[in-house]
Structure formats: structure tokens, C-alpha cells
């Protein structure tokens, strides 16, 4: 459980040479995805995403704050992730380590750069009061690909959020009371899809074992053909042609994931 052994890694690599994976999937095939909303009544919006045995909870909370000086008429977004020790023997308590920070940042950038949230509409009074949207991501069980699960969860949680009641006179948010108003979002959703390179092969939705032996990881956040965030991870290099293959692969699975998310939102 703690580390994938060399023998297992070798076997995974050899299988992939023949286009096969341990769980019988094709290289471009996701595990079963289930999406549930409303996991906490006290959140503005929330989602539970399962991809195979991997599970994450994502919740949205909002608060009214003073805007940043460089964006006096725009709301804020704060994405944080926590890899709960509950979810894996590999995670420990204590200050966030790099994977936790990176996870939050990748999801943050995808949402921010795609302009999925209309921050201008989240301004209450220029220079004085704006909404902050907090997206908090928690791992519940890690069997690989927490990244894509978190990205899907963040979108679904945002989509089903209701803005809390703000008492303008008192200048206070009435936590627990919600308006019928939704967070102003763009029509097209942004989905992160992560592709891994193992040997000379490329796969999506890795299990933990596959993630362990992955040489390069590229996460591509895109909405209907427009890419708005990329993160290459791993200390190995990538050829240009390989990047093109990754882009093609991520584009190929995008539609499938998109229709699954859309279905869950109905």
C-alpha cells in the first residue's frame, strides 16, 4: 500500500505495451464516475465525486469581505484542498505538503483563468464589499486521480450553490440562510483532465499504482475546445509530439466526462 513495488510497476508497463491495464480498462477509459450533490446542508453547495474507488468531497462556502486593492470591483476565489489522513495511509496531519498545495492551485487556476465565475457580479459595493467564494476539497479515499475528481467536484459544487443572505444594513452575512440566487457562472463548464505517461504509453484516470509509476503527468483544464490551464508534473521531459498526443487524448475523453457532469446537474 505504501509504495508500488518495482515488480508491479514492471508488470503495469508491460501490460500497457499491449494496450492493457490491470483492471481491464483501455488506456483512454475512465473508471465509473458517480456524482452526488448536497452532501452538507450547511454548505452553499457541495458535491461527492467517486471515480472507481477514489472519492472526494467538495463544498462551497461564501463570505463578504473587503476587496483586494487591485480588484476593487471583483469578488474573490479561494480554493483549498486537504488530503485527509482518513483517506489514505500515505497522508499525515500537519502543514500542507506539496501535493495538497498543488491540487488546490491547479483547480483554482482552471476555474479562475477560464472565467467560469463572473467575479464582477460578485461585487456588492465597489472598493468596500465583495463576495469571496471558498471551494474546499477533501479526499475521502485515494485510489489515484484525485485531481480530476476534485475538478469535477468543484464545478458541480459551484453549479448547485445558492448565495447566502447578506444583510446590507448590518453589513453581515446571515450564515445558514440562503437566497434563491446562484453564483454567476459561465455557460460552459471547465473540466480538468489529467494524462499520464508510462513508458511510451499514455493513459487517463490512473489508479494509485499507475500514478506511482507515472513518469510525466499533464493536467489540461479546458471548456469546449478552449484550454485555460495546463500543469505538467514529474521530473521527466516530454517530446513535442508526445504533448500533442496528450492533448488529443484529453480532448477525446472530454466529451464523455462533460456529458456525465451535465447529467448529474439535471
Amino acid at each position: 500500500m505504501i509504495e508500488t513495488s518495482d515488480i508491479t510497476g514492471e508488470r503495469i508497463r508491460r501490460y500497457l505495451e499491449e494496450g492493457k491495464r490491470f483492471d481491464g480498462r483501455k488506456p483512454d477509459e475512465f473508471r465509473e464516475i458517480t456524482i452526488e450533490t448536497g452532501i452538507s446542508k450547511n454548505a452553499e453547495g457541495s458535491a461527492r465525486v467517486k471515480i472507481g474507488k477514489t472519492e472526494v468531497f467538495v463544498g462551497v462556502k461564501m463570505d463578504v469581505v473587503e476587496p483586494y486593492p487591485d480588484s476593487p470591483d471583483r469578488g474573490n476565489l479561494i480554493v483549498s484542498a486537504e488530503l485527509l489522513p482518513l483517506s489514505s495511509p500515505r497522508f499525515e496531519n500537519g502543514p500542507p505538503k506539496f501535493p495538497t498545495i498543488e491540487l488546490g492551485r491547479i483547480i483554482d487556476r482552471g476555474i479562475r483563468e477560464s472565467e467560469f465565475i463572473d467575479f464582477e457580479k460578485l461585487c456588492i459595493k465597489k472598493g468596500e464589499k465583495v463576495w469571496t467564494v471558498f471551494i474546499d476539497i477533501y479526499s475521502i479515499n485515494d485510489d489515484g486521480n484525485l485531481l480530476d475528481a476534485s475538478g469535477i467536484g468543484a464545478i458541480v459544487a459551484l453549479k448547485n450553490s445558492k448565495i447566502p443572505v447578506y444583510d446590507k444594513k448590518e453589513g453581515k452575512v446571515l450564515f445558514g440562510e440562503r437566497t434563491k440566487e446562484k453564483i454567476p457562472l459561465a455557460k460552459d463548464i471547465i473540466i480538468p483532465i489529467t494524462v499520464h505517461k508510462i513508458g511510451d504509453n499514455f493513459i487517463v484516470d490512473p489508479t494509485l499504482e499507475e500514478e506511482d509509476i507515472s513518469e510525466v503527468r499533464v493536467t489540461i483544464g479546458s471548456s469546449k475546445g478552449v484550454i485555460s490551464s495546463i500543469q505538467k508534473g514529474g521530473d521527466k521531459s516530454l517530446k513535442t509530439e508526445e504533448l500533442y498526443r496528450i492533448l488529443d487524448l484529453s480532448e477525446k475523453v472530454w466529451d464523455e466526462i462533460y456529458s456525465k457532469i451535465e447529467k448529474s446537474l439535471k
Partner: protein, 236 residues
Amino acid sequence: MTAKIFKRPDGRKPDEIRKMEAKVGIIPNADGSAMFRFGDTIAFAAVYGPKKMHPQHSQDPEKGTLRCNYNMLSFSVNERIRPGPSRRNIEISKITEWALEPVLMIGKYPNMVIEVHINIIQANASTRCAGINAAAMALAHAGIPMRELVSSVSIGKLDKQLVVDVSKDEEDWEEGEGATDIPITLTKSGEITHLQLDGKITKEQLKEVLGLAKKATAKIYEVQKKALKESLEDEK
């Protein structure tokens, strides 16, 4: 004036526990795991271990160590909780260890640690009790030898009325003598492993509280036992 029938905010009878739900085996990665729910209060618990204690100087050569870690998800409550440790979490984590340790037979595990991680997914008061109930089940699920199970419930005193399984509205009760919150954990055989109280109460009433807790934990025990049995049947 004759005593009028006491009305709880959610219409429950004084000795009525909110709808309970329990499930074992919710986290595949863990050695043992469980969910316990009192109405809108949902706790998840996962057990990892017994495993070697690190750092080495924390090892106890005489017996195994139980380490609990209680935490609330930021969006489990109305006002977002900032991530990171808090004094409340540290206290509840320790209280949970004390609530569970008396029934654990961890003498067999020198230099080892058993970690219990409790996360509150959704909160409507009595979270520590839900957490302890989930943790006890998760430990049993992990196959840690236990003398018996423990079950936890919060008894409340709202003005002068005693109630079982306190909700958030009741916790904030302000009329009359206000609210007194008494979370209690009992073993199956009726021994107290955890007792806290915040508020005001007389000795006589406290005795009554224990009587109510005994009856309530007997019901909780049945729910825990049923879920554990079901998990065994699933494995067959």
C-alpha cells in the same frame, strides 16, 4: 400551573434520538472504517494500524498507543471553519481517545500505534458523540481486539427539561435556565468512559441524566451492532 408538555424545536419526544444511520466499510483504503449519523450530524471514521509508531521516542514498549484525530470539514457548519488545528479539535481528539481506550485490548501491540481519523461531514450538534460511535465501529471493523463496544450520546437540559440527543437549536436554548449539554459515552456493560458537562445541574438531575444516557446508548448500540453484522455478511 400543571406541567405542560415540553416541546422540542424539532418536535421530538424528550427521550427520542434523531434518526440514526450507521454503515461500516465506507473507506476502502482504511483497515477499518464507519459512518455514524444522528439526523443531520454525520461522522466518518477511519482506522489505520496497528502500525509501527514514529517517531521512535514516542513508542511505548509496554502497550500499543491509540491516537485519535477529530476534525470538521470546513463546510460542515454554517460559518466556514478555517482549515488547521484548533484547541477544540485537540481537546475532542483526546476525549475521544479516553472514551475508547478502556475497551481496547492494545496491550498486545507494544511500540505500535492505532490511528483513528474522525471527520465531521455535516454538523448539527452532538458531533463528538457521532464521532465516537463511528470510531468504535471502525475499530471493531479493523479487527482490533475490544472487550466490548462503546456508545455515545449527548443529554441536554433545556431550562428544566432533560432531553436526549441534543440538536443545534437545542444547544442554543436560551429560555429559563438555558441549555446544559452533557455528552456521555458508556460501554455496553454500563461503565462511563467519557463524561463532560457545560451548564448548570443538580446532583439529583445528573443521576437522572445517567439513566437517560443508559437507555439511549442501548439503542445506539443496537444500530452499531447491526451495521457491523451487515458488514460481515457483505464479506461472505
